[in-house]
């Protein structure tokens, strides 16, 4: 089948320019046999169940999978083996749309940096720079609390642009949310994603007092970072943020500070950067490939994704070595994948976007997530008029991984969830082979780590 260069916008029916749609994934949609240094295993997609098997069964399953016409026989065999079960994931949309519990506040749709690949298009989401007024932020808090039961939890994420450009609204909103949540008997959690160039001691005090999860965007070490994350006038920012971040790292307690890197062709060599950043005292470090940017800048092609995959695997070696030495090594890509595999996490969506999580723009408009702010594609009401539950229900129905192609014939679909909605709708599924290869690596690593360090999963 020839590659299709366009992707149908799922909800609006608008044709959008996108990348190629991958061909049907290899293997069976039901099971995926794999090997580790401890032997043979099989992942059953439904319920993300993992079994140890013997070589003979591996060979038998692999042969049934390789024979494309033997799908029925394969299912029958799984039934005989006791590996079939009632569906863990319903095929249809959820009967009820979940309440919105978490919201991101794009408090500043503007940024002091000039990263070319920013999903927010320089921080303003392709529009006019805007600052969120206090009443929009308060109204968001009120709306979340209105749906929360006593004893429940809500979460607020401050993002941008660069959110610290509007720090007054952040401070006031935190105080308002903490007071109102306490009155309602609801727990509230806070997080912020910042480039840290504007960070002050008072900001750190606020984050520490309220136990923020702070994510600092760092795309490499020193010059690499400088080249990717310059100011609008082209100056590097590494030294500036290091001077501001290091005191914050020293104060971690209730507050946790993580580093997150967007990976472009210019910074795929992540292994050293992860080690250095963890060494500086970041609570965890994670990376994410840039697969969609407003102007195509910085996007990774398949060959570059292969380079990144090799680096991810090399970084896993460091993680394993640290575990063997009785130390922690919070490289979140592998740590979260292993915990998910251990729990058997199975999900029909890649994230909570449009479900329990919505993104709120500076003007009070609500979107499926922070990436869809200002984009009609993911519009979901507003804090004034209320969340658009019909749009959310439609989203839940349309974005279900079993309704996605080629996801529904892929063994990895309930681990992957179908990929970031924003990237998929904008550019198609361009990284499926990369994701499957990474998950295959994680599955084998899980078996090996579980055998060597079972307590790590306790």
């Amino acid at each position: 089948m020839a590659a299709v260069p366009v992707v149908l916008g799922q909800r609006s029916g608008v044709l959008r320019v996108g990348g190629p749609v991958p061909q049907a994934p290899p293997g069976s949609p039901d099971v995926h046999p794999f090997r580790s240094t401890h032997g043979h295993h099989v992942l059953v997609a439904d319920g993300s169940r993992l079994y140890d098997i013997d070589e003979a069964l591996h060979t038998e399953l692999a042969a049934l999978i390789a024979d494309g016409s033997a799908a029925d026989a394969l299912r029958g065999r799984l039934q005989d083996l006791g590996l079939a079960s009632s569906d863990h994931i319903g095929q249809g949309a959820p009967a009820q749309v979940v309440d919105v519990r978490y919201a991101s506040l794009a408090v500043a749709q503007s940024c002091n940096l000039g990263c070319t690949y920013c999903y927010a298009d320089g921080g303003d989401f392709g529009g006019t720079p805007a600052m969120m007024p206090l009443d929009v932020a308060y109204a968001t808090v009120d709306r979340l609390l209105a749906d929360a039961d006593p004893g429940g939890r809500i979460g607020l994420a401050f993002i941008g642009g660069e959110p610290l450009l509007n720090r007054r609204v952040i401070g006031d909103t935190v105080a308002y949310a903490a007071e109102r949540a306490e009155a309602c008997g609801v727990e509230v959690t806070f997080s912020i994603t910042t480039n840290a160039t504007l960070l002050t001691a008072a900001d750190v005090d606020l984050f520490d007092e309220h136990g923020f999860a702070v994510t600092v965007s760092i795309d490499g070490l020193g010059e690499v970072h400088d080249a990717l994350r310059p100011t609008r006038s082209g100056e590097g920012t590494w030294d500036r943020i290091m001077a501001r971040v290091q005191p914050m790292l020293a104060r971690q307690g209730r507050m946790q500070v993580s580093a997150r890197a967007s990976i472009t062709p210019a910074n795929t060599a992540i292994r050293t950067a992860v080690a250095e950043l963890l060494g500086m005292g970041f609570h965890s470090v994670g990376v994410a490939p840039v697969l969609r940017s407003p102007n195509g800048s910085g996007e990774l092609d398949p060959a570059q994704l292969d380079v990144l995959l090799a680096e991810l695997k090399a970084t896993t070696v460091d993680f394993r070595a640290a575990l063997d030495a009785g130390q922690s090594y919070r490289f979140s890509n592998i740590t979260s994948a292993l915990q998910m595999i251990h729990r058997g996490t199975h999900r029909p969506y890649p994230c909570g976007a449009g479900g329990a999580y919505l993104g709120v723009g500076a003007d009070g408009s609500a979107a499926a997530c922070h990436r869809f702010v200002g984009d009609d594609e993911g519009a979901m009401g507003s804090v004034d008029a209320g969340w658009d539950h019909a749009a959310r229900a439609g989203w839940a129905a349309d974005r279900h991984v079993d309704r996605q192609e080629p996801c529904r014939s892929c063994w990895a679909r309930y681990l992957c969830g179908g990929g970031c909605h924003h990237e998929v709708i904008g550019r198609g599924r361009t990284s499926c082979d990369f994701i499957r290869a990474w998950l295959e690596h994680c599955l084998a690593t899980y078996v090996e780590v579980a055998n060597a360090h079972p307590r790590w999963f306790a």
């Binding site: 083996l81 006791g82 729990r343 307590r455 306790a458």
Partner: protein, 574 residues
């Protein structure tokens, strides 16, 4: 062939079905997991967290009596159980077991050591971290607090504990040397979810304030059917020489399990609804006093005194070749024949709509039950037919890889001791014949007991052994079903006046064509399916099975219609 499969991650483990007891009987599916204290007390597991010792978790009394012993709270050593603990066999070569037993032995004999005074858990150490059972002022933690800490200990990982004596005087301060013991935290459940053998009967429930039957008092049949039966058959105490109850009518009455009047005179049929039965049931307060009077229920029947399982045939094994011959010439044809005999008999029984309910008010329910019972046995025989064929094709292949298996799907004209196989209505005489056929120690039972013995000696054919066991075990249930039917029928006139029977005569190929045509299709499809299954072609085999099922439904519907018009289906003609 079944491959090796071991569940690894959490969802796989949760979905794993262990062969054997139903999941509802496993401890991990117990109600107590959600409601600690119902069914069993989870704290009692941790009494035996350390092999060889049994602790008791003691709380300071809310209203202490003056003069009681000081500092009673914490994990108190209740007794040493090292002699009976299956984790500590004195013949063990495990260094930690030998060391632990030596340490315990050394400390038991000495004055002021473990056999005397009050000993408490002082601390435990795992993964290099020590947890002390007292606060920073040295005040011992309460038993509940200690229990929670002990629950966090990882099983099957090295564990060191220290125990120390407390003074009976003053504030109960620690005295003497601490005794250090090294071992492992006990694994409370084995991989199949079975409780460790160190726990004695009643130990997990001994601290409950009410018997579980009290807490389940109002759950009726809606929730806990497995351990709280709703209605039961009464104990068949007086029996005749052949093992049948002297008063079959009485033995067939459905009784309320928690009826208050438990005298023989109180054995009146349970009413149809919970509300109607409620006034005649024991209440919560009575449950606490009289729970021991509630009898065990086995096979739907209250067990009055000692339960004696039906005697099993003793059988000596035969060769695989002899078993193969017997399956082909005797057992598989027998299963085919019995399934059809039972079906024929079932069709001869009226439906609830066809009986005179004004004259016999209980008859609609009784005929519905009888038809259901016979159908269940017939279906079970059909399953046995498939298993017998599977035993055959696997034995064929095992004994001669080039052998071509031929399904056995035909009847036998002789059943037992020369008795002819007969398609007959479900008269009391027919029921009695069925009882004799299925009776433990009878022909079928003996034959399968021999198959079990033969296969038991062949570990390489373990899956065939399992199959033979299942067929063999089902026989007891068939026997009970037909015995129950006999008791039910005894309440009604027999012969031509039997109000439960249709007047059915054996039809001909022409008059019964509506049922015989799908029946022949059924046999053909099953023949194809078994051949395909034997050669490993499972997907096409499944399609044939599906077609056979459809044909079976057609047979059932047509045969029932014909029987209602007085025509019995001649499944065979010789």
């Amino acid at each position: 062939m079944n491959g090796f499969i071991q569940p690894r991650n959490l969802t796989a483990r949760a979905a794993h079905q262990v062969v054997g007891n139903p999941t509802s009987t496993r401890m991990e599916s117990g109600v107590a997991n959600c409601f600690p204290g119902l069914e069993w007390d989870i704290r009692e597991l941790d009494r035996r967290f350390f092999p060889g010792l049994v602790f008791q978790f003691v709380q300071t009394p809310l209203y202490p009596v003056p003069g009681i012993l000081p500092a009673q709270q914490g994990a108190k050593l209740a007794w040493l159980d090292s002699l009976e603990d299956p984790a500590l066999p004195f013949t063990s070569d495990e260094p930690w077991v030998r060391d632990l037993l030596a340490t315990l032995e050394q400390n038991i004999g000495q004055i002021n050591h473990l056999s005397q005074g009050r000993w408490y858990l002082d601390s435990f150490e795992q993964y290099g971290t020590t947890f002390v059972m007292a606060d920073e002022h040295g005040t011992p933690y309460e038993g509940e607090m200690v229990w929670r800490m002990i629950r966090g200990i990882q099983p099957n990982e090295p564990l060191t504990i220290r125990i120390q004596q407390r003074s009976d005087a003053g504030t109960g301060e620690p005295i003497g040397d601490k005794v250090t013991l090294k071992g492992f935290r006990r694994q409370f459940l084995d991989p199949d979810g079975v409780v460790d053998h160190s726990f004695k009967a009643g130990e997990l429930t001994m601290s409950m304030c009410n018997p579980w039957s009290h807490d389940f008092r109002d759950c009726a049949c809606h929730y806990w059917a497995s351990n709280h039966p709703d209605v039961v058959l009464g104990p068949a105490e007086a029996t005749l020489d052949d093992g049948q109850p002297a008063d079959p009518t009485d033995a067939a009455v459905k009784l309320d399990w928690i009826r208050r009047d438990r005298s023989p005179g109180g054995r009146v049929a349970s009413a149809a609804t919970i509300t109607e039965n409620r006034p005649f049931q024991i209440d919560h307060y009575e449950m606490n006093a009289r729970w021991e009077e509630l009898p065990f229920v086995l096979e739907g029947r209250e067990i009055g005194a000692v339960y004696s399982p039906p005697e099993r045939a003793q059988a000596v094994g035969a060769t695989l070749e002899a078993l193969q011959t017997r399956l082909r010439t005797e057992l598989a044809p027998l299963e085919f024949t019995l399934a059809l005999q039972y079906l024929y008999a079932m069709f001869s029984v009226r439906t609830p709509a066809e009986v005179d309910a004004e004259r016999w008010p209980d008859l609609p329910g009784d005929v519905a039950a009888i038809r259901q019972f016979v159908m269940l046995v017939a279906v079970s025989e059909m399953q046995h037919l498939r298993w017998a064929n599977r035993l055959l094709w696997e034995l064929d292949q095992h004994l001669d890889p080039n052998a071509v298996y031929q399904p056995v799907l035909h009847h036998t004209s002789t059943l037992w001791k020369g008795e002819a196989a007969e398609l007959a209505p479900l008269t009391p005489e027919t029921v009695q014949r069925f009882v004799e056929i299925e009776r433990p120690g009878g022909q079928i039972d003996t034959a399968y007991a021999q198959a079990v013995s033969t296969l038991k000696a062949r570990p390489d054919l373990g899956h065939l052994y399992d199959l033979a066991i299942r067929i063999d075990t089902d026989g007891n249930e068939h026997y009970s079903r037909f015995s129950d039917i006999g008791r039910i029928l005894a309440a009604y006139p027999s012969g031509v006046d039997a109000p439960y029977l249709r007047s059915v005569e054996l039809g001909t190929a022409e008059t019964a064509a509506a049922a015989l045509t799908p029946f022949h299709t059924l046999v053909e499809r099953l023949t194809d399916a078994y051949k395909l299954e034997a050669s490993g072609d499972e997907a096409p085999a499944q399609r044939k099975i599906d077609e056979a099922r459809t044909a079976m439904l057609d047979v059932q519907s047509a045969a029932d219609d014909l029987a209602a018009r007085g025509i019995g289906v001649p499944f065979w003609t010789d």
